[in-house]
Symmetry: C2
Subunit: 108 residues, 2 copies
């Protein structure tokens, strides 16, 4: 199954913020931002907690908002953070969000 993704100039900041504004999705994006090749299972393993079925919704929100690319690869889905697209369209936003997540983590 091939997924649809918005083009860079179709991305909207309110949709990006809404997608990132959920603890599970933000945790998943932090894993992807950490580098390395990831699929749904490997991200789930790192963040723990939600069931695979719950994540289907979260992956769609992240995909539809332009935050990640999700592409089939064998029996799994490869996941990639669209860092270049986000940095080009909204300079500094993703880095500020990731730094903010670290601030919260350090303080809690």
């Amino acid at each position: 199954m091939k997924y649809r993704h918005p083009e860079r100039d179709q991305i909207r900041v309110d949709e990006v913020l809404s997608a990132l504004g959920h603890p599970v999705r933000l945790a998943a994006v932090r894993v992807l931002a950490g580098g390395g090749e990831h699929n749904c299972t490997s991200v789930l393993t790192e963040i723990g907690v939600p069931a695979k079925s719950t994540m289907t919704h979260h992956w769609r929100v992240l995909r539809d908002s332009g935050v990640i690319i999700q592409e089939p690869s064998g029996r799994e889905n490869l996941l990639t953070l669209r860092r270049d697209d986000l940095d080009a369209r909204y300079p500094g936003l993703l880095d500020a969000v990731l730094a903010g997540a670290r601030t919260d983590e350090a303080g809690s």
Copy 2:
């Protein structure tokens, strides 16, 4: 009626992103970021559209997430963007969001 607001160190980035990740709330924050003294009515007048009753929910989300201060003043509620708190806790985030909103506006 006096409202409760989180302290600076109680603010969480996912809640801020979720609060900003709605077109009406983002529009309201942009009005507040533009400076000047604002109350609920004056922001509504600038952004148009939603009924005052709908905005009660949006103000609460912005207040609870630490994005705005809402304080009674006579028969109105004064609204203030917590720029100092947000800039101190999440450097660059608010500016990147506001710039992003301008990017979207220019492109659409």
